[in-house]
């Protein structure tokens, strides 16, 4: 065909770019929603990823400062002369510490407080700072024989340097307040604030008695080039035999890191959900956008552009927006993460060094592009099928993509989601379960929404009023976005209320069950000789003694004929290490308590003098010690060996706010063993509680009082802080959902205008049209949010069973707050969008929209 010019003369890549730019420039306001989805999704992701790495790096980089030493040896037994010999052979120089919990009082002030006392030798910490007010107090408190108190304690009791503090029999002047010390965090110190006193003063307190839980630590500093791992490998087994442990500074930081691991995982999950919502936003906004571009593409094709050219123009445009969104989102994420420290500051005993990590940044930049293209792919591929005939016939619809191609694209999308979540969660299988779960939830929501719409159609409420019927009909208008809207609203609600419910789960664990009046004061370390007097003091205050539980401490000597030392040295043994050196706190009683259930064997309620003594184990101890009913255990009860046999195994609900025991003896065996008691009582208010604590500390300085009410306040404070992050991230998700909503509402605007014009021409009043629109949005909001909350009930039940292992009682918040708020939001956005429709006359509208 000589009329067709040579192939060489045609528009190149530069022209495609130019067209993408030209069209994008003028469509920017339409692309804002699309970009917003990407920015929010990536922002959340980058923020959390980068923050996680910063946290990891900080913890790893400051592990010596965390411990204040290179390594430490810890033991819960008073060191014997032989043990001290061994300690002296360990490499490096060391400082000693004795620590325990106790009650203190302030002679100059009213009030008593549970604290952790640390008796320290001068020279600790080797690393990191001990910062005090006044600054010199860190150096002077030991030579002056004074105490350092947590700064919070100082403010709480309005103490100043020079005031005194009374610990047991000892009264010391206060040298100053501790602002920063190795290992201190706001959270740990709010449960039990720390008091540092000179090591030599500990004995004078007279607080170390039978049953006191005392920690003996030896902090070591070695030469900078010392091989710590070698020290550990050589000495830890030796220490094990002495019921002590070697802990390297790196272990401590790992443990701390692990403590943050779950929080980190949770945050990553939330980030990923925000990202997914972003994807939903992208998919729906590109879908809407490309629908608006159909005419453009038809004209281009009519002018002679090939299918490839038209496809590429928009692929380039979408990629460009994706890249730009990635850049903005990454920037936003890096800015956003600056907010997180507010939340971790109280949990983290160190300052964060901010740095930008290339991994998250690259991921953010790349994901912007990948997400945009991937989730825009179906609408983009649809451009292929747009016929130039549409220029002659407005509304000429393109044919549909083949099912196989659609399935292929969806498959790739799922695969990429899985890849990204595996990358984030670092667990491919869990990620797979997660992706399948999300896909399932999506499918379920879509299925319910679809079924619901069919149901409305089939059982159409003909008896309803005109406005209600009209608004229902609107849900089925051609080209409706009902499904997309319901999905967006539903998923958003689902996530938010699942987060809410989970928070409830966590809180419920910490709460004392209502109904039965539970004890809220626990008196620990009551010596056998003191229990009568303590009970009387309690009753004298008008408070009941609810429980009086005897406790005897003992260790295991033999498990089934093998000595624990034997088992310890046997590398093939699978008996848990902790069992071998654990100091068991054992009680004796004749019956099971509420939190216990018999799982195997026979409960022995009375002792008839037989040997071996029948005892009952909790299921976790039985499992870790690898014993069953009938097996023998030899206990060392403070020097006296006692042969026992496992008579029963109990399941114990450790989550209950109750004293639970892993080993229970029958009454009558341990009556003469050195024991101490735990008494519980219930104080109706804080004043009564304080009064009792004061008289107890005065009369029995060795007794420790646990105030559950105070403890619960601390716990709920912590949960509030976690909740803040949860809500913040949920807000992010809602924002993304918002964008989806805005986009979807906007698409139908055009149709809505025509409809309302038609209705008005037919004589409908403005008020009626408003009512129709309002009802329609209300329907959408209600269907979506109710479904979301209902689905989240199921999801939370799964979480409750598999992860939190606690019964799930839904709170009313999602029902009472989330559903109405979401409905109102949808209504608000919808009506705001219909404003122009309502304000103008039919003619005006028709002219403006240029129909």
């Amino acid at each position: 065909m000589e009329t067709l010019p040579p192939e060489t003369r045609k528009a190149g890549f530069g022209w495609l770019l130019q067209m993408a730019w030209r069209d994008g420039r003028a469509s920017l306001h339409r692309l804002v929603l699309f970009m917003g989805s990407i920015v929010l999704g990536i922002g959340a992701l980058v923020a959390i990823q980068n923050f996680g790495l910063t946290l990891e790096e900080t913890i790893a980089g400051q592990s010596k400062e965390l411990m204040g030493a290179d390594y430490l040896v810890d033991s819960d037994q008073p060191p014997t002369a032989g043990f001290l010999d061994t300690i002296n052979q360990l490499p490096g120089t060391f400082r000693r510490e004795v620590n325990f919990a106790t009650m203190v009082s302030f002679p100059d002030r009213a009030g008593t407080r549970l604290v952790r006392v640390r008796g320290m030798e001068a020279g600790y910490p080797f690393y990191g700072a001990l910062e005090t007010t006044p600054a010199g107090a860190a150096e002077t408190y030991i030579p002056e024989g004074a105490a350092l108190l947590d700064a919070t304690l100082m403010t709480q009791y309005r103490l100043k340097p020079g005031d005194s503090v009374k610990l047991g029999n000892l009264t010391l002047p206060i040298a100053g307040g501790i602002d920063l010390a190795p290992g201190n965090t706001a959270v740990t110190t709010s449960v039990a604030p720390v008091i540092w006193i000179p090591y030599e003063q500990i004995d004078k307190t007279g607080l170390i008695q039978v049953g006191s839980r005392v920690g003996y630590n030896f902090y070591f500093k070695v030469a900078p080039d010392a091989d710590l791992q070698a020290i550990y490998d050589l000495w830890d087994p030796i220490m094990d035999r002495n019921n002590a442990d070697v802990d390297l500074h790196t272990d401590t930081s790992q443990r701390l890191g692990r403590r943050f691991e779950n929080v980190g995982r949770f945050l990553k999950l939330v980030a990923f959900i925000a990202l997914l919502l972003g994807c939903l936003g992208i998919a729906s906004s590109v879908h809407i956008y490309m629908k608006e571009k159909r005419q453009f593409i038809a004209i281009l094709k009519c002018l002679g552009a090939t299918r490839r050219q038209s496809f590429l123009i928009f692929l380039l445009q979408i990629s460009g927006i994706g890249l730009l969104g990635g850049v903005l989102g990454t920037g936003m994420g890096l800015a956003l993460q600056q907010i997180f420290p507010r939340f971790v500051r109280d949990f983290l005993p160190l300052e964060l060094d901010w740095s930008i990590h290339w991994g998250p940044v690259l991921l953010g930049l790349l994901l912007g592009l990948v997400m945009a293209v991937l989730f825009g792919l179906l609408p983009l591929l649809n451009t292929w099928l747009i016929s130039p005939l549409a220029v002659l016939r407005i509304g000429h619809l393109p044919s549909r993509l083949s099912k196989r191609l659609t399935a292929l694209v969806l498959g790739i999308i799922l695969l990429v989601i899985w890849g990204v979540s595996a990358l984030l969660l670092e667990q491919p299988f869990r990620a797979l379960a997660f992706v399948l779960g999300i896909a399932f939830t999506f499918a379920l929501l879509a299925g319910i929404a679809w079924g619901f719409m069919r149901g409305i159609r089939r059982f159409f409420p003909h008896s309803w009023g005109f406005e209600a019927r009209q608004s229902l009909l609107n849900l089925f208008r051609p080209n409706n976005q009902t499904l997309v809207l319901v999905l967006a609203i539903g998923i958003g609600t689902f996530l938010i209320s699942t987060l809410y419910f989970s928070q409830d789960l966590l809180l419920a664990r910490a709460q004392v069950e209502d109904g039965r009046p539970a004890a809220n004061l626990i008196l620990l370390d009551v010596q056998a000789g003191q229990q009568q007097a303590v009970a009387e003091t309690t009753r004298a205050q008008g408070l009941p003694v609810m429980e009086n539980i005897p406790i005897v401490t003992m260790r295991l000597e033999k498990i089934k004929d093998r000595t624990v030392n034997d088992i310890r040295e046997d590398t093939t043994s699978t008996v848990s290490q902790w069992i071998l050196s654990h100091e068991f706190r054992v009680t004796y009683r004749d019956s099971l308590i509420e939190s216990e259930q018999l799982k195997a064997g026979q409960w022995v309620s009375a002792y008839n003098g037989e040997v071996p003594v029948p005892v009952s184990l909790s299921d976790n101890v039985a499992r870790d010690a690898q014993v069953t009913v009938g097996d023998r255990l030899l206990f060392n009860v403070q020097g006296v060996l006692m042969e026992t046999e496992v008579a029963s195994i109990r399941e114990v609900d450790w989550g209950r706010m109750q004293l639970n025991f892993s080993v229970v003896f029958p009454p009558g065996v341990l009556d003469n063993a050195p024991r101490f008691h735990v008494l519980t009582t219930r104080a109706p208010d804080a004043e009564t509680s304080a009064a009792l604590q004061q008289s107890l500390v005065r009369g029995f300085p060795n007794i420790t009082v646990l105030d559950i009410r105070q403890l619960l306040e601390v716990v709920s404070d912590i949960l509030d802080k976690i909740g803040w992050v949860i809500r913040f991230m949920a807000f992010f998700s809602i924002l993304t959902g918002f964008i989806v909503l805005l986009g979807a509402v906007r698409t139908s605007k055009f149709q809505r205008i025509r409809e309302s014009v038609l209705l008005r021409t037919l004589g409908a009043k403005g008020g009626q049209i408003l009512k129709i629109a309002a009802l329609e949005y209300l329907f959408l909001g209600a269907i979506g949010s109710v479904m979301g909350v209902l689905l989240s009930l199921g999801a939370t039940e799964l979480l409750a069973r598999n992860i939190f292992e606690t019964p799930f009682i839904p709170s009313w918040v999602p029902f009472g707050v989330v559903i109405p708020v979401i409905c109102l939001l949808v209504l608000g956005i919808g009506l705001l969008n219909s404003r122009s429709v309502l304000r103008s006359t039919p003619l005006e509208v028709l002219r403006r929209e240029g129909v």
């Binding site: 005419q295 009519c302 002679g304």
Partner: protein
């Protein structure tokens, strides 16, 4: 004189809801190169459908179309697009400018598609020819209907087409503006020597053409040679 368009026994049917609707049946006609040709008929008689088939925007159920020496039935969609780009111009009732491109960009697109390095200059000259030299940077929404149609005219002639299809070019314009656009169309056409195939209701406009084909109910009802 060779024919630029040969239509032979063309048939087009639509099936909707199981029923077959024959929109065009047994249409045969030719258009000699360089002439003007009017397609008239009542609304719904199939004029637009026929135009779409002749321009290769749609495919017939039977019969053949030969445009600029090429049998449209044997070309792929992209080859037809290429043919349109090199040889065909269009004008529509509702203008069909690219809404997100300026007037100047709209006119230069057909040239850019050909890889013409002088696309923008040529487009500017063409805009001047239709009297819109100073409106090049305006978007379609900033132009009146008559101005938009003039931009469309400039765009239609930009690639020096051999044949120009117009579907009711004055349908959306008031009488005065419409007649100005028609004059401009005929002037440009004469200057470029393009074949003009025009669908219209306007009897005055139809009478200015060399030949006329009247459709009724999807069939040829009347052929006239007016100014030959």
């Amino acid at each position: 004189m060779p024919n630029i368009l040969n239509v032979h026994e063309l048939r087009k049917t639509y099936s909707s809801g199981g029923a077959e609707l024959t929109v065009l049946d047994d249409i045969t006609f030719s258009v000699p190169a360089g002439t003007t040709f009017a397609l008239v008929g009542p609304s719904g008689s199939g004029k637009t459908t026929l135009l779409g088939l002749c321009a290769g925007l749609d495919t017939p159920n039977a019969g053949s179309v030969e445009l600029c020496g090429a049998d449209l039935g044997s070309l792929s969609e992209d080859e037809r697009a290429l043919l349109r780009n090199r040889q065909v111009g269009f004008i529509f009732q509702n203008f069909q400018l690219l809404p997100t491109l300026t007037a100047l960009e709209n006119v230069s697109v057909p040239l850019e598609l050909q890889g013409d390095p002088r696309a923008v200059e040529s487009a500017r000259e063409l805009l001047a020819k239709v009297g819109l030299a100073d409106r090049g940077h305006h978007y379609p929404s900033q132009l009146s209907g008559g101005e938009q149609q003039r931009v469309a005219l400039a765009r239609a002639f930009a690639n020096r087409p051999q044949v120009l299809f117009a579907d009711e070019p004055t349908g959306n314009l008031d009488e005065e503006t419409g007649s100005r656009v028609v004059s401009l169309l005929f002037d440009l056409n004469k200057e470029a020597g393009t074949t003009l195939i025009i669908v219209t209701h306007d009897t005055d406009l139809a009478r200015r053409c060399d030949r006329l084909l009247r459709l009724k109910g999807g069939r040829v009802f009347e052929r006239q040679e007016l100014n030959v």
